[in-house]
Symmetry: C4
Subunit: 191 residues, 4 copies
Amino acid sequence: MTKGRMEAFSDGVLAIIITIMVLEIKVPHGEEFTDLVPLIPVFLSYVLSFIYLGIYWNNHHHMMHTVKKVTGKVLWANLHLLFWLSLVPFVTGWMGENHFAENPIALYGVILLMAALAYFYLQYTIIKTQGEDSVLKKAVGKDLKGKLSPILYLIGIAFAWITPWVSGAMFVLVALIWLIPDKRIERMLEG
Amino acid sequence: MTKGRMEAFSDGVLAIIITIMVLEIKVPHGEEFTDLVPLIPVFLSYVLSFIYLGIYWNNHHHMMHTVKKVTGKVLWANLHLLFWLSLVPFVTGWMGENHFAENPIALYGVILLMAALAYFYLQYTIIKTQGEDSVLKKAVGKDLKGKLSPILYLIGIAFAWITPWVSGAMFVLVALIWLIPDKRIERMLEG
Amino acid sequence: MTKGRMEAFSDGVLAIIITIMVLEIKVPHGEEFTDLVPLIPVFLSYVLSFIYLGIYWNNHHHMMHTVKKVTGKVLWANLHLLFWLSLVPFVTGWMGENHFAENPIALYGVILLMAALAYFYLQYTIIKTQGEDSVLKKAVGKDLKGKLSPILYLIGIAFAWITPWVSGAMFVLVALIWLIPDKRIERMLEG
Amino acid sequence: MTKGRMEAFSDGVLAIIITIMVLEIKVPHGEEFTDLVPLIPVFLSYVLSFIYLGIYWNNHHHMMHTVKKVTGKVLWANLHLLFWLSLVPFVTGWMGENHFAENPIALYGVILLMAALAYFYLQYTIIKTQGEDSVLKKAVGKDLKGKLSPILYLIGIAFAWITPWVSGAMFVLVALIWLIPDKRIERMLEG
């Protein structure tokens, strides 16, 4: 029961975050296609954030599969993750409206980093409640993706003031790492 | 479980999309009925998009009935559909505020087309996971509606710069095709 | 299953409608309580609409209790009801921002009337699917409230251009009729 | 069934309230970090309100665990609670945009107080429906937190015009009281 409501609430919040982001793409007054040109960076930011929220929903979903008991700590670790994700529409809008300027790109990376750490902490909290035979611990394994992502975010943040397109590349790269099914990545790393 | 959460998340996103569209109908400052006149195209666009989202929710709903196993590909094909549908409020607003001008009508058609193709791809992905005895494949049958819709959208898009009302007529026609129960259409085609 | 998703979707749409209405109460720039004074009519409209949407959610909820089979017609009759309710935030905002001026009051009444008729039609559609032994038909009984409400709305709409406070009183009266549990009303009518 | 839909509707409304609050953090036009400085009070208000809504969701959730029968009175007591919580985004925005000025702080406290009383009334209504052996009554116990919170809110409201930071401290204190698990508090009180 508890788990069901936690999932339902998380689904609700994620569905709203993913949808209200589109409100940042403000309807222009003109009717020419050229009136849409200034919206291109806003649109691209939207696409990237949409994919990120899709990944979070997807992973959250798989993680919850392994959960049986929901403690107060898990509930709050989950709300803590939703908090950082709720700031994604703001940084997406700021980055898009300033056409990928240095500071907004860096802040976008910071929020992605905080969300990743919050996810990591939620995972850790669940594993602790599950004890030694934690199903989630086995499922996560070495958690290469989970450990690599914060490092790539940090590189992305640092490059925001040097070569901003590297930051963008880093954020796209992390998204791709999570989008491509695990097996393929494993083969690539082995290959 | 997985299916339940995918349905719940889709329902959430669709419910939000259908509802935030109404925010594009901005409350006018004046108190006369004439102050509402400029809102008529916005309102008509809203009605059309509301019906389209209702149709998508309805069809999504029936399609999910046949699904038993949800794979990663199905989850992402579903998110891909939701992405295009999430752009409906934007194009609805642009078309409405520009009183059905050429370019906004064309873009509205493009988004409808992309959503139709995304739906088609989701359907294809589900059928593939179900294997040879796919229940969905049987249910879909020849999928006359599904194949006719993109063609009508393309006609609608092309006519946007020639006779825009033909575009409008096409978009209304597709909606009607999906609103009228199948049996009647079949009889009409046979008749 | 079908019923569950229809309820979930309706709950979602109603939850969003009831919540985005609060966005019409725009945060004022000043920090004095006098800066809130112009918001009083917007707030009062919000309270009335909140109660109305609460009543609709409540009644929808009880009606669905009696439903076993959901047909395509029921799904669309339900979406039709949600359509009219989705316009409540707009008319609430228009009425509130114009301090209960004549035309906005009348339009508010029209939307309430259309929602009431849509509810009536949904009820009728469900009763038809249930056949002769319709549980809903028995539950509804003479449906005094359902028949009285549209009449009171019509009186309210007509008085908008004569004595607007009568309209307001009518809309409050209908809300009270639905808020007060049936038994008390029955006793009052008998008494 | 009834309980399930009441929970789902409450979850939906709470998820939307918690998420649309972020829309009050308006994306600034400039791209410098200094452009974000005026947003700091808005952000801090957001954090506080996010935590409060998280606490309400959490407590609502535990309270509903004990509920078996949902009466009309419980449904309306629940909607009454949601009404006051729906005003949180407005007062959060007013307090944040006016950089914790006296009146907005006081109103913020008033809304928190009204929500606390509404929660208290919902609790009372549920206990009454459960009769003498009320599970909720036992679970609530002496309800120290529930009785202390309104008093702290009142102190906070009173200090808004004397030393506003005391008000802020009171609102943070109440949040902490609810965040820290009960056992620790009990020990502190005993200690």
